[in-house]
C-alpha cells in the first residue's frame, strides 16, 4: 500500500510537465500556462479594497494562492517574510491571496494569518494580503492546490509558475530577477 501510494505520487508528479508557452488564457478546468495572458479576476485586500488582476498590469507581480490552514502555506509565508525585501527591490509586488473561502474549510482570517506568519513583514509595502474571488480561484487554481504561485511580468503575461516558496525560493528569486 505504501509502495502504491508513493508510486501514485511519482506518477503524478512526473506527468505534470506540460510545456505550454504561448498558449491562450486557460478556460474551464485548466490552469493558465506560462506565456499566456494572466486571466482576469478580483480579490479583496485585508484593508477591504477590491483589486483586479488588470490593475497589476504595468508592474511585475507575484500572485500567490494559499489556504490559511495549510501548513506548507504557513511555512511559505514565513519564508517569504525573509525575502520580500529582495523581491521588492526587484520591482516585484507580492500578492498573497487566500483561495476562495479557504477551499470551503475553516482557517484563520487572512489578516491574522499574515500577522502571525509574516510578522513585521506583514506591513511591507511590497506585500499585499487578500482573499481571492471564486472566479479568480477557479481561473488560476481550478484543482484546488494548496500553495501555488504565478509570476506575472509587467505586460500581464505569466512568466513562471511554481509552488511552495519554502522549497522553491531560489528559483523564484532567480526568475523574479530576470523578469521584464
Amino acid at each position: 500500500m505504501a509502495v502504491a501510494a508513493v508510486a501514485v505520487v511519482l506518477a503524478v508528479t512526473a506527468g505534470g510537465r506540460n510545456p505550454a508557452a504561448g498558449r491562450a488564457p486557460a478556460a474551464g478546468g485548466a490552469a493558465p500556462a506560462v506565456g499566456s495572458v494572466a486571466p482576469g479576476g478580483s480579490f479583496t485586500t485585508v484593508t477591504g479594497r477590491t483589486e483586479t488582476i488588470a490593475s497589476l498590469r504595468g508592474h511585475k507581480a507575484l500572485l500567490w494562492f494559499v489556504t490559511t490552514w495549510c501548513p506548507g502555506c504557513q511555512a511559505g509565508t514565513r519564508a517569504m517574510a525573509g525575502q520580500v525585501a529582495r523581491l521588492r527591490a526587484a520591482g516585484v509586488q507580492v500578492v498573497e491571496v487566500e483561495d476562495y473561502a479557504d477551499l470551503g474549510q475553516s482557517g484563520p482570517a487572512m489578516t491574522a494569518f499574515g500577522r502571525q506568519f509574516a510578522g513585521q513583514a506583514h506591513h511591507d509595502p511590497g506585500w499585499t494580503f487578500g482573499t481571492a474571488s471564486l472566479a479568480l480561484t477557479r481561473a488560476y487554481n481550478p484543482q484546488g492546490y494548496l500553495d501555488v504561485y504565478f509570476l506575472l511580468d509587467s505586460s500581464g503575461h505569466i512568466a513562471y509558475i511554481n509552488a511552495a516558496p519554502t522549497s522553491t525560493m531560489s528559483q523564484l528569486l532567480a526568475h523574479a530577477g530576470g523578469l521584464t
Binding site: 500500500m1 505534470g16 501548513p71 506548507g72 483561495d99 476562495y100 522549497s167
Partner: protein, 258 residues
C-alpha cells in the same frame, strides 16, 4: 474554529516552471522538502525509526526461531510485522494526502463540477493537514503496540507457529513424570500426550489437542509450571500443532523410561 495555530510543517516541494494543469507544480518528491524538516518531524522520525528497528529485530528473531524448529515452510507470527507495516503506511498519509498533488489529481479525475471539486479537495486535504499530529501519533502507537505484542509473544511462547516447536530435551524430561505410555499423536484422547511434553520436537494434534494434553489428567499440576507449561503453549500452533506438518511417531527420548 478547528484551526489551531502552530508550528508550520509539512508541505510540498515543487520544481516545475511550465504547466497547464498544476499537478507537477506541487508535491514533487524532492530534496527541497528538507526545508520542512523541523524539530517536530525530527522527533517523530527518530521515534518511528527506533520503533521500527525494534519491531524488525523482533520479527527477525522470531523468524530465526521458527527456521530453527520448522521442518519445512516458514509461516510465522507476522501479525506484529503487519501492524508495523500498517503504522508505516499511516505515517505517510499526512504528507501524501495533505501536501501532495494526489488528492487534487484524483478528485480531478472524478470529473466533479469545479466548485464541488474545490470543496472536495479542500475537505480531504484539510483533514490530513489538521489531523497530522493524531495520525503520526497513531502510527507511533500502532508501532509500539506491535512491538509489545511481538515481545510478549516471543517471551511467552516456546514455539511460534505450527511449523514446529523446540523444547529442550532436558527440561522436557525433567518435567515429565512417569506414566504409562500413550499412543503417539493421540491429541484427541483425554489422556495427556507425553510425547509432546518430552520430545525434542513436540508431536500431536492441533490447538485443542495440545491444550488438553497439557492440562488434563494427573500431570495437570506439572503442566502449570516449568517446561510443561511451555509445552502447553507450544502445542497451540496451527493445524499440525507443534508436531509440524505431519504427525509421526515420537522421537527419542520417548518413552521417558527407556
Amino acid at each position: 474554529m478547528r484551526w489551531r495555530p502552530g508550528e508550520a510543517r509539512g508541505g510540498p516541494a515543487a520544481d516545475l516552471s511550465q504547466a497547464r494543469d498544476l499537478s507537477g507544480c506541487t508535491g514533487r518528491v524532492s530534496l527541497a522538502n528538507w526545508q520542512y524538516f523541523g524539530p517536530r518531524y525530527a522527533a517523530f522520525t527518530a521515534a518511528f525509526a527506533l520503533g521500527l528497528a525494534w519491531v524488525v529485530t523482533l520479527q527477525v528473531h522470531a523468524m530465526r526461531r521458527i527456521a530453527r524448529t520448522a521442518r519445512a515452510g516458514a509461516a510465522g507470527p507476522r501479525r506484529g510485522g503487519l501492524a508495523g507495516a500498517l503504522a508505516a503506511v499511516v505515517s505517510l498519509l499526512p504528507s501524501l494526502l495533505c501536501c501532495s498533488p494526489v488528492v487534487p489529481t484524483l478528485v480531478g479525475l472524478i470529473g466533479l463540477p469545479a466548485a464541488t471539486q474545490l470543496q472536495t479537495t479542500g475537505t480531504i486535504t484539510y483533514f490530513f493537514a489538521t489531523k497530522q499530529d493524531w495520525l503520526l501519533g497513531g502510527a507511533l502507537a500502532l508501532l509500539a503496540a506491535s512491538g509489545l505484542w511481538s515481545t510478549r509473544k516471543l517471551a511467552r511462547a516456546a514455539c511460534l507457529a505450527g511449523d514446529g516447536c523446540e523444547v529442550p530435551a532436558a527440561r522436557g524430561a525433567a518435567a515429565a513424570p512417569a506414566g504409562p505410555p500413550e499412543p503417539p499423536g493421540d491429541g484427541e484422547s483425554d489422556q495427556p500426550a507425553h510425547g509432546a511434553a518430552t520430545g525434542q520436537r513436540a508431536q500431536g494434534g492441533g490447538r485443542r489437542a495440545g491444550t488438553r494434553a497439557g492440562v488434563a489428567g494427573p500431570r495437570r499440576r506439572a503442566s502449570r509450571s516449568g517446561p510443561a507449561r511451555t509445552h502447553r503453549r507450544c502445542a497451540g500452533g496451527g493445524p499440525a500443532g507443534c508436531g509440524g506438518p505431519a504427525p509421526g511417531p515420537p522421537r527419542w527420548p520417548w518413552p521417558p523410561w527407556r
